[in-house]
Subunit: 439 residues, 2 copies
Amino acid sequence: MATVCCGRSGQTSTIEGVSTTATGTLTDHRAEFQSAYDELKARGLKLDLTRGKPAADQLALSDALLALPGDGEYTDAAGTDLRNYGGPNGLPELRAIFSELLQVPVPQLLALGNSSLTLMHDVLTFAMLHGVPGSERPWGREETVSFLCPVPGYDRHFAITEALGVRLIPVPLNEDGPDIAAVKAAIAVDATIKGIWCVPVYSNPTGDVYSEEVARELVSLDAADDFRIMWDNAYAVHHLTDWRPEPIDILSLAAEAGNPDRVFVFASTSKVTYAGAGVGFLGSSPDNIAWFSHWAAFQSIGPDKLNQLRHVRLLKSAEGVAAHMEKHRALIGPKFAAVQEVFERRLAPFGVGSWGDPKGGYFVTLTVSPGVAKRAIALAAAAGVAITPAGSTHPYLDDPDDAVIRIAPTFPTMEDLTAGLEAFCTALLLAESEHASER
Amino acid sequence: MATVCCGRSGQTSTIEGVSTTATGTLTDHRAEFQSAYDELKARGLKLDLTRGKPAADQLALSDALLALPGDGEYTDAAGTDLRNYGGPNGLPELRAIFSELLQVPVPQLLALGNSSLTLMHDVLTFAMLHGVPGSERPWGREETVSFLCPVPGYDRHFAITEALGVRLIPVPLNEDGPDIAAVKAAIAVDATIKGIWCVPVYSNPTGDVYSEEVARELVSLDAADDFRIMWDNAYAVHHLTDWRPEPIDILSLAAEAGNPDRVFVFASTSKVTYAGAGVGFLGSSPDNIAWFSHWAAFQSIGPDKLNQLRHVRLLKSAEGVAAHMEKHRALIGPKFAAVQEVFERRLAPFGVGSWGDPKGGYFVTLTVSPGVAKRAIALAAAAGVAITPAGSTHPYLDDPDDAVIRIAPTFPTMEDLTAGLEAFCTALLLAESEHASER
């Protein structure tokens, strides 16, 4: 995690109207923090900073979808009637747009239903029931199947594998991707490891971006023939600055490494257009796509191609997507800036916490003193401010250090976000001072 | 199957322009049939009567969907923003409409993605991986899992179970539903049987309608605790006449029989609105719905609720659905009548075939002499007319009698349908006369 701040002291700070100079230790301020917290609690707030959902003004950017494709518009460029059954691979025009953005050749990129989560679940379910190309048997027939989970990571990823009975093994996430030494060490001693969860761009929740070097290491790992990288490129186009990550053509890297079937690429328009009514994408090697399509044919006579047509008409091109994402940035950039401003003003003077300043994505990760995260979140909850539960960034919802907190700034209004952050800082400062007193 | 015709002879018939009186045996006419077929083949037709798809004019009945829900329309009656994540049960207003039509209480009826096939696949996949309420272990951990398959039946049903490694056991389908004596006999000697596929109304492909008596027998079967009835009510509102089947409240019958969790009800708007962009429904007991929702939560953050809103705006009410279905009937009724007319005129005089006259649904089943179906379909294919492959109405695509042929009249234009049926009769008469000559 790109940590931007921590441990400075001696600055002037304002605690919910209480002016103070943070010259002493946290313990010295405990009474002051307690009274600020009591005052906060008495205000009976009801604010929610839990989930990475787009706000209403972001959704409104795509409201042309509400009347698209429009009267008489129901065919694709080839003249196919999109209202009927068929077209299991999805609309070619939409796949072309995202092929460019995701660096997956159109024939290897499927446009399917309204959720990439469903596609991840499908891939893993098919793997459990039937095995993937290279499997000796269905994963479900193995004694144990294990997955590497870079931490901090995404709770819904970990939950899919956990629900399928897969054993979850945490490995550290560095600023440039999963800790390759830890990954190699785990695989070297554990033949049950069949895969790893990855969010390569603006990782959930740290905002870290994988380097090409780490990507090369991942596709080159000396792992099982049916080892799979779940490459969830959820935030590929979700930039918050002018900087652009170096694009990683992961499928080509895997092929070059002699492991062409190692990677499944996932993406969606959930945070481009509508979170509930977007389009999910699955990209992979020709063999993996043939494998997926074979099993998917039993469950579907084709995706909702009209919704895909709506997306083509709205987004038009890869450039259209980029332009659309700039509008998101204009709306949520200030919210991410508010997180920095509040934490810097409220926490830095007391040396409390360290946090990232992500260049994209949907989250900010705040690391607090070990053993303090749950307490801080519980205090915030008791004051009416919901924060993503501590532990949700780790397998089995268990952060062994009880230190990582995921901040999701996009969904609340700016007013609610700021009020929520201020309140949360009040709760955190109290929790940290309690903790310091106990030492 | 309600058979309406067969075995009459001595009538005047026209074989593609050749006038004849069918006074002799089929063998007597063989040369005539051969020359009619040769002439047909020379015409180089290219017609497809294979799949049960709505035609373009049927799809056009729902073209208001193309511009729905419309500018500024994205909330449900409760004010929820349907553009965002959430709402895993689907839009309450849409569930209310179909609750009435399907006789499933709203809280027990989920409105989900664009395909009920996906929901059947999900249910069975979850059963394989986790077991259903009442299972001792996941079905996938059983030595063998078997399913009863009423025949003739629907190929995609049988395919889902086959793909999951389930053993398929055919049982006869009578005019009032699965042959209960055969069902009981199978279950009595085979503890591996975990379920049965059912299309209770206008069954695919015979058009038969289950009686309440048979439904009561099915929910009362002395079967495994985790025995499940896959009640695919795909054609509940797809009437072709003024007659209406007696509604069967299958969930209540199951509860009364002391087996409340025995039934999963499936339906969709695929043949109400758009085949590729409709809404699928799953109904069941409270325990089954809780079970499904628990596992589905790992794969989805909610269905496409905007598409559900489109459907509410288009269909408005249960009465609205019924009125909409009358428009379908007006379009496809003449096509079903054409099947009767052509078969009656072309086949009856030679005593060839017996066929149903369904009061609803999407198919007509034609039964020919044992051993003739494949040959007739091959002859038709060689003359450029595609008919659903023989055997597709049976598990493992194997009709042991090689006698059942599924006719799907809806998709072609009336002109193509009539031409295709005439051509197919020409092929069938030749096949039957070849067969008669061999005896």
